[in-house]
Symmetry: C2
Subunit: 359 residues, 2 copies
Amino acid sequence: MVNNYSYQQLYNFSKNIFLKIGCCDANAATAAKVLLSADLRGVDSHGIARLTGYVRLWEVKRINANPAIQIVHETPSTAVIDGDKGLGLVVAPAAMQVAIDKARNVGTGWVSVKNSNHFGIAGYHAMMALDNDMIGIAMTNASALVAPTFSVERLLGTNPIAVAIPAGNELPFVADFATTTAANGKLEILQRKNLDTPGGWVQTKEGEPSNRADEVKNGGALLPLGGDKDHGSHKGYMLGSVVDIFSAILSGANYGPWVPPFPAYIPMPENLPGEGIGHFFGAMRIDAFRPAPDFKLHMDKWIQRFRSAKTIKTETKMIIPGDPEREMERERMNNGIPLLQAVVDDLAILGAKYNLRIE
Amino acid sequence: MVNNYSYQQLYNFSKNIFLKIGCCDANAATAAKVLLSADLRGVDSHGIARLTGYVRLWEVKRINANPAIQIVHETPSTAVIDGDKGLGLVVAPAAMQVAIDKARNVGTGWVSVKNSNHFGIAGYHAMMALDNDMIGIAMTNASALVAPTFSVERLLGTNPIAVAIPAGNELPFVADFATTTAANGKLEILQRKNLDTPGGWVQTKEGEPSNRADEVKNGGALLPLGGDKDHGSHKGYMLGSVVDIFSAILSGANYGPWVPPFPAYIPMPENLPGEGIGHFFGAMRIDAFRPAPDFKLHMDKWIQRFRSAKTIKTETKMIIPGDPEREMERERMNNGIPLLQAVVDDLAILGAKYNLRIE
């Protein structure tokens, strides 16, 4: 059975749910837009499938629908923001805007955020910089599902990094990736299809190599980008660690194994060293380095050269970072967003509770 | 045969060589210190083994021994520096110092550099921030040895990233890694031992998977961190690309396949779009975010938690980024730096040419 919905249908439903839990109109609109940007770009695990999860966090009072998002410390190029337990979907764009404003003034802006929660896809926030002729950077920590190199224990989240870079005639370069070999969403797809994972994605709860897509549910762990030491997993571990430190130790959020879990039914870690989860944002004005037209000319040349590279036999075209998500966005904006039956059922229950329907 | 030399012996020889090619005393000292820091930290491929290579670049006039290193554009938090074809070993610390000075004034400093060349190990430059209670970041592009995901062609360098983060009672966190599965130096070690590489390190010149340690010499390529698409090589490709763009397109250096090669005998690429190779440096003052003592307290807690994680059966201790290099530095500072016979021979020839000996 195909469950296909238009962007507008799902946006309206999501926005109305956020209104029902008490968000103001502007925040509900922002939250719905950020959430749905994941569905449009094909990152289904971070989109409307999580809507019920956000509501559950609000129900257990771990999300504040009307946060007083505040700068608690700043310099001309930096700020720490307290998200006041607001939806990460709302806190993150506000923090990225502060980074952009600072970049306008002094060339770059860097903002570390505490007391937030899941912010949707990192790419959305990084891309806010593009219209300002700025490079945008966004990262976040997340609850611990990843075992660093040699560790049996899960100490890091999938800790994604996004970097958005403007071009001229070409479309922008947009990198957005988890610092693990594979994002959790890819494991979920394999689980539904009852397929094994390639090597280097997961390990068992004893730390043995595994190919089971449900290993994380059994107490196992995701692996850092690289998979094992021979294949550079210490580099993925270092990247995930840098994301954790910039997001949480600079700001005062929780880090490592203490990052609060997204599912409201999982108990909170004990003896928390900080507040909520942490994010980190950066904006760099292109013309703080060189005239934007010069930069864009060379960015176009870079993209054209990489796009025209000779490919290996099994492939017909090169990927420029941002291409796959843009193609998906065009396709889904035109032809609708397909939802799994389980997601449709979940949204129906949520809608019934709040007297709303997808229509 | 063991060829073991003290740090001071190799430092003196290197500094004297730099003096002979016309560097001033301060620049010769800096260049020798940066170069030898690679030998001390165990990154033998980037240390004194390259000394002859730098001299050859000077001989063919691709290195200027007395550069006028200049800021060509700046804002309160950014600068572009023209390295005037100086030794990267000298240009890079000068640029990092500008980043640190800007961070002192406005919280952070970000410097992109053009018209430079090989800068030694990235970690040295990033670590300059530590004594200033700042986080340091250093990256550089390099000549193209890496085939992006799906590409047969080599379009990126090993493009390393270093991030140095101060702690309190614990030693600093220092990540320093090539954005490939394995650095070129590791391939050289396997070649000398006549051993194969693990999968995911290299491909043939037709783009087929390979385990030959000499594949790059045969026209093959290094692979981005991840190895292949199934194992996340597009993420390594994105990281290497970001390093290339920040280092060269922000500054006006060469990028992608146009980055000048280190060996002076390899012809320069044609139709260069920029000047020299590019670097990118960042410094962030800890107390531009929160009081440094608070940050360090939590950084210590982070390090202690990760260090005490339960390890997989085959390993007895966790790695904290920076540990292996520090252990090597202590060992080599106390017991000397071992050099391969080929390196000793090479340095003897160089010394004879300039009337110098290691003594």
